[in-house]
Symmetry: C2
């Protein structure tokens, strides 16, 4: 298979080689022509000297064509290397060139550091915009975040499983669910792997899954996607619900380390600061509201949740007072949480649950779950659900499940906050929302009926 | 957090400890009572001696209850250790016991080596059957298979990405697709991450994804699932389409090594033989049909595909003649493959495509893809598709994509063949088919309308 342009050619000075890549830029200095040739490893400069067989052939080639070139690797003059041109310490003197694929003229210059395109264009033309270095960096970071999550939990003896996307029922209530025509029946797209995590817990005690989850969000915000990737973990035999936050904190600390180690170049492109992390402060929602009130005079002390402004304010406080870009908010009201959330034995209006905020945005939600069969069935009814819809799931509790809990991280939200992206859609290569699947729906699709 | 029962207690002889687990079995020898207590690490024997505070409390406890016990760790007599009782070299002498969760009487003995339940019961009661050691082994193997796939490709500089499940159009033709109500529009569940792999290739050159894919199979066979997990890889700048098989062969060889190393106990439970693998034979479909004809007198030489019997026969041949449990079948007819498959330049009725068979079952399908824009658009039309449905995808080729190809592995099929399971449904914790989502649909759901 082909050599990479940047890493493998540096050792080949004076050798004849065959290489291949995309033509990124074409420059002429008098009669001599230079190509910057690109592949996943970076850039190699190619020189075309009049008289070589490649020279005439080269003239028809345009940016983004894919070519194969044979020639000789030459060391580049020291001066140019010192200028830190990112094209390496060698260049290729082209002898022969062969076209592997042609390209239409590109509609905008995707090689600029900052793409000058609107958000709709960014997504409509994703096959081209994804080739931009700064855009690629987003998805490299996403890859590292997922990998780090898995790695940390594997070292803690968690087992990975695959949670299904097709589900028989609306498990957590709410209208924001997509319906599927499933043979002769109606089925739904999963809103969360929660119930399946708990089932698997009965066998494996500690499980995680990377699951696509689906929310029929009826509005377009900068914080929501109709399909996103949830990093979901669950562990049994907790001795305190704080055990769950401990595991979450460990995952976050390792993630920051892994990203800093593996995404140096990517972080630089965004001038992204290393997050402040360590022991993450844990405060109750009511305490957070009190702090916000004192700082801003905004009185949300009776509200049953933090709004986006509150989340930003309490994150600012955490950074100022605890030098932490992360903060756990705990004890959300019982009525705002799903039926399986464990009520605080000291005050049953509140739950042993938490959110983790990262630079002002909720990126994790978790908590202890009810593991007692009777308490759980009572709650399912109290939340207005039909017990029959839960007969499969409830077997888990009928046959003994230890005290347990878990959490779910929104992978795109982590990436968004890390790089300071303005819109959550930018953090996924193929965003889905009420106006878009790949391209804008209003342009590509007719409405039903 | 709690100590594991098997690994961590062995070092604690004569110490007072607190442990917790599921009560797996209860045995009495005269007045002394033994519990086998289970957690993810294995079994610890607990002894209840008359007169201890735990003794009276213990009497109400039944199998599958979850308990926390404090007591003293004692070394077990040598004789018992020598009998290789899997309950370790120590036991716990119970002082106090606390119930963490109760259990209904279990409807069948899930602790037997081979579960004596029908297939419908196996799935209907998955929350209980998944606790059986031999069933758990299946999903442990699945975890290792996925991990190995990722690990091999990462070392080869592949980038992981997440392919969307909601897609705007029927990409590869065919009626076997699930429809979604997507806001005011119709959308579909993805049948393959193929198009998205190719888009990402333009940026990353080598990509993979672990994708849930969906097929509305209108019949129930032992070889199909309505939702399964596809291990999908794609690489650019191939110099020959055989490069793709080389990568696939590497993935398979590493996978066998990783499974043999990490799943010793699991393989023993199934008496699963280590697969014969190394250089995997590669033969054309027409040659395979010729060999089958010679061996069995079954003349399928004019058929455009191998049927399940053919796949078994040619796999037998590969094992006998090449000492290989795997065989690549290549050059499937053009009309049987999707529009993007690269035709063999030497004979355009056949394609540069392959299947990989493992012990008689197709587990991988792959091949070179058409990377020329005009050739691809011609083919989309020739296959009866509307070009407008592919405008997003086609940008990839409009702006230059190198020669490339890839493959997709059915993760459940690998597990099924490895362990010799009779039915593909057994290889996934939550099988979906036309008769089942979690539980049997005919029992749990009303038909539409």
């Amino acid at each position: 298979m082909k050599r990479t342009l940047n890493k493998e050619t540096n050792e080949l000075a004076d050798k004849q080689v065959k290489i291949a890549g995309w033509v990124q830029t074409i420059r002429a200095h008098g009669k001599i022509v230079f190509f910057d040739l690109r592949d996943r490893s970076g850039i190699l400069q190619v020189v075309f000297i009049p008289g070589s067989p490649a020279y005439e052939e080269m003239k028809k080639i345009k940016p983004e064509w894919v070519v194969e070139i044979t020639g000789k690797i030459n060391k580049r003059p020291d001066k140019m290397v010192n200028e830190k041109i990112e094209t390496g310490t060698v260049e290729l003197e082209a002898k022969e060139i062969k076209v592997l694929a042609e390209s239409d003229p590109i509609p905008f210059d995707y090689t600029e550091k900052d793409l000058q395109v609107s958000l709709p264009t960014l997504f409509d033309q994703r096959p081209l915009t994804v080739r931009n270095e700064k855009i690629k960096a987003i998805f490299k970071l996403g890859d590292v975040v997922l990998d780090s999550f898995r790695k940390t939990l594997k070292t803690m003896d968690f087992t990975e499983f695959q949670s299904p996307n097709i589900v028989p029922t609306v498990a957590e209530g709410g209208a924001e669910i997509f319906k599927i025509d499933y043979y002769k029946y109606k089925a739904y797209l999963s809103q969360s792997p929660q119930l399946y995590k708990q089932i698997m817990l009965g066998a494996f005690e500690r499980v995680f899954t990377i699951a696509h989850v689906f929310r029929a969000e009826p509005s377009v915000t900068t914080r929501h996607l109709s399909e996103y990737v949830s990093l979901d973990a669950e562990l049994a035999f907790i001795e305190s619900w704080e055990d769950i936050m401990d595991v979450c904190e460990k995952v976050i600390n390792n993630m920051v380390q892994d990203v800093q180690r593996n995404c140096k170049k990517e972080l630089e492109l965004y001038e992204a600061k290393e997050p402040e992390v360590g022991t993450i402060p844990r405060i109750k929602m009511r305490e957070a509201q009190e702090i916000i009130f004192k700082r801003t005079n905004r009185d949300h002390r009776k509200e049953s949740d933090l709004d986006p402004e509150d989340e930003k304010e309490i994150s600012k406080w955490a950074l100022e007072e605890h030098k932490s870009d992360f903060i756990f908010i705990t004890h959300y009201p019982t009525k705002k949480r799903p039926f399986y959330t464990y009520p605080d034995p000291k005050d049953k209006d509140y739950t042993l649950s938490f959110d983790l905020l990262f630079r002002g945005l909720e990126i994790v939600t978790g908590g202890q779950r009810i593991n007692d069969y009777k308490q759980l069935t009572d709650n399912i009814k109290k939340w207005g659900n039909d017990l029959n819809n839960f007969s499969f799931y409830l077997q888990t509790f009928k046959y003994g499940l230890p005290p347990e809990g878990g959490f779910a991280m929104g992978s795109e939200r982590i990436v968004k906050q890390y790089l300071g992206l303005a819109n959550l859609r930018e953090a996924t290569p193929f965003p889905r929302d009420m106006e878009r699947i790949d391209q804008s729906l209003s342009i590509t699709k007719k409405k039903k009926k």
